[in-house]
């Protein structure tokens, strides 16, 4: 019995030591170390932001960490000041509640690709906005549906069932994708609409862009949407999407650049819309689901100095890391606007 008593005492002492130790660690590193920034948000831009971590560390001396929780998660994180910066592919005005004390800065430009997994099929099949909307409405259910077959004459499409994949979380990519569908399909616009999270009429939900890519990767016959970088990451095929000029366009740098010519002057809140450019010689080769993505920062931030360094670097030198991941470098006018926006952060 005395042995047990000692055991009890030893355990109590160990427990107390452990609790004391964690308080000590907390106190010692209470303030986040000077050169570190924490961000969260869009999984669309995650490949690029993650590519920035190492050069930002070596060139600016800032240790950055980024959590791809989705645009909705990013906006709520920056609204609640849980992170230093939030990233979202949808403008702040779309969210409610939203960050009313934030500055919105477009910091990357890419395209939302329509990914598919069809064993035996070649890459770059053609699809039109109207057919895509019908697929996502659940009206077209098989790959060899006449509407889809008509667009791809000469390709023998199998009778595999189409599994529609969408986002199950609040997503800026969803906002841009549904924005496109609403513009090309009045039926979609009235039945479902545009938002970061909608009432999907059909299909399976994946968590974040990686989740969507994951499900498409695992499911023969699946169609999904995500930033085009995920087609490389997940080794998935992409559709050539028809634009208003009638051409079928690959989500490639030069096609995204063509679309970006639609709007080079951000609105007062920093947002830009380049979805579905009109039928015009200038946009003959524009990829119709090209999208800007934003970084949101509180106007008065504890880490203002580091944030300004980071974002100034990101919109200038950081853009060089983009092309490999199919992020088109920002037009000069947008960069100029960005610099003025970031100056507002104190």
């Amino acid at each position: 019995m005395p042995r047990n008593g000692k055991l009890v005492r030893i355990i109590l002492v160990l427990g107390a030591v452990a609790v004391a130790a964690s308080f000590a660690v907390t106190a010692a590193s209470a303030k986040r170390s000077a050169g570190s920034l924490k961000g969260a948000g869009s999984s669309f831009v995650a490949p690029l932001v993650n590519a920035w971590i190492a050069p930002v560390n070596s060139n600016l001396g800032i240790s950055m960490s980024y959590n791809a929780v989705g645009s909705g998660g990013g906006v709520s994180a920056i609204t609640n000041k849980e992170v230093d910066f939030g990233a979202s592919d949808a403008p702040l005005s779309v969210f409610s509640p939203t960050c009313t004390t934030c500055v919105q800065i477009p910091w990357a430009l890419s395209g939302t690709a329509v990914l598919y997994n069809l064993p035996g099929a070649k890459n770059l099949l053609k699809i039109s906005g109207a057919v895509l909307a019908k697929i996502y409405l659940g009206q077209i259910k098989k790959w060899n549906d006449p509407a889809l077959q008509k667009l791809n004459k000469g390709v023998n499409l199998p009778s595999t069932a189409i599994t529609v994949v969408h986002r199950s979380d609040s997503s800026g990519t969803t906002f841009n994708f549904t924005d496109f569908l609403s513009r090309v399909s009045p039926a979609w616009k009235s039945k479902v609409g545009t938002n970061t999270s909608v009432a999907w009429p059909a299909g399976v939900g994946g968590n974040k862009s990686a989740g969507v890519a994951g499900i498409v990767h695992q499911t023969p016959g699946a169609i999904g949407y995500a930033d085009v970088a995920y087609s490389t990451i997940a080794h998935l095929n992409v559709f050539k999407v028809q634009n208003r000029a009638g051409n079928y366009i690959i989500p490639r740098l030069k096609n995204i650049k063509a679309a970006s010519a639609l709007d080079t002057h951000p609105a007062k809140d920093g947002s830009l819309s380049i979805v579905n450019p009109p039928k015009n010689a200038k946009y003959a080769n524009a990829y119709p689901i090209s999208t800007y993505t934003y970084v949101d920062v509180q106007k008065s931030s504890a880490n203002a100095a580091n944030l300004k360094k980071l974002i100034n670097w990101a919109v200038t030198k950081g853009q060089a890391f983009g092309p490999k991941l199919i992020f088109q470098p920002l037009p000069a006018a947008v960069v100029a606007f960005d610099k003025k926006q970031i100056a507002k952060v104190k």
Partner: protein, 299 residues
């Protein structure tokens, strides 16, 4: 003729044969059921072990996560292991003393109606789903103070509390009253008797309960999604930051399209499983040891 009448016309030997056949059939089904359970477990453990062991290497245990990195970059889940250690440690430090105190109150001080009431409360607490506890801690702590290892530890502690209380109550009840009377008889005050003599008798059982609770809670994902998910990818010991944990890492990696991420998820599941099996075995050994001790004390 009704079936009963038909049956009554059966010869006794035939009826006996039919009953024996029915018996055999049921025995076969029971064997099949047990075989199914064993097979399921074997398949799950085998999948985890096979996939996990092959992805397990030194890098995995020591390096941290680097999302979207090309395959040649060495990465691992060290940040998740550290985070789980810290958060489960906090949870245990919170739940163990409180759970033991509750058990002491229920067993040593409370009147029967109060005892019943608190027992009911603990059972209700045990039945609250982990995800609801996640929302609760989110509303209580995270909304005002942001995510942190403390919030995650508190959420896990709420999950552990009923487990620790229940097992401690059961073991305390097993301590024979003669022991308490003897202690009081020599003039020891109640608190001395309880803490110095009765409780140490049960230490094996308490540790069993604690170990099982730790094993259960080390694999909990849902409450941590709410309290500790916006994490850095560095190895971080500081509980005032949200920390990456093994179950949340597995959850995130399981949805990825990258087979390398899947491999890391398997490896993490493998490590988690080994830890939990080890903890369960330890708990079982402690339970047997304490049962033997109590048996000796009672006799």
């Amino acid at each position: 003729m009704s079936s009963a009448e038909v049956r009554s016309l059966e010869r006794p030997a035939d009826r006996l044969r039919r009953r024996r056949v029915a018996n055999r059939a049921m025995e076969l089904l029971a064997w099949l059921a047990a075989a199914t359970a064993v097979a399921i477990l074997a398949i799950v453990v085998f999948s985890v072990a096979k996939q996990g062991a092959s992805a397990l290497n030194f890098d995995f245990l020591t390096k941290t996560q680097v999302p979207f990195a090309p395959p040649n970059v060495h990465q691992g889940l060290a940040n998740a292991f550290v985070g789980t250690l810290v958060i489960v440690g906090i949870a245990t430090a919170l739940a163990l003393p409180v759970g033991i105190l509750i058990a002491i109150y229920v067993n040593e001080f409370a009147r029967p109606p109060v005892r019943y009431g608190i027992g009911l409360v603990i059972d209700i607490l045990a039945g609250v789903p982990a995800i609801v506890i996640g929302f609760f801690v989110f509303g209580l702590i995270v909304v005002a103070h942001g995510q942190s290892g403390w919030a995650g530890g508190f959420a896990l502690a709420v999950l552990m509390l009923p487990l620790v209380s229940r097992t401690t109550i059961e073991v305390l009840a097993l301590v024979p009253n003669s022991l308490r009377e003897a202690a009081l008889g020599v003039g020891a005050p109640r608190w001395r008797a309880t803490l110095g003599i009765v409780l140490p008798q049960t230490i094996g059982g308490v540790l069993t309960g604690a170990t099982l609770a730790v094993a259960r809670v080390a694999g909990e994902t849902a409450p941590l999604l709410f309290t500790s998910s916006l994490v850095t990818n560095n190895i971080d010991w500081n509980p005032s930051h949200p920390l990456q944990t093994v179950p949340v890492a597995i959850f995130e990696l399981s949805e990825s399209p990258d087979p390398a991420d899947h491999a890391r998820a398997w490896a993490a599941a493998f490590v988690l499983l080994i830890f939990i099996l080890f903890a369960s075995l330890t708990a079982r050994w402690l339970a047997t040891r304490s049962r033997r001790k109590l048996g000796r004390a009672a006799g």
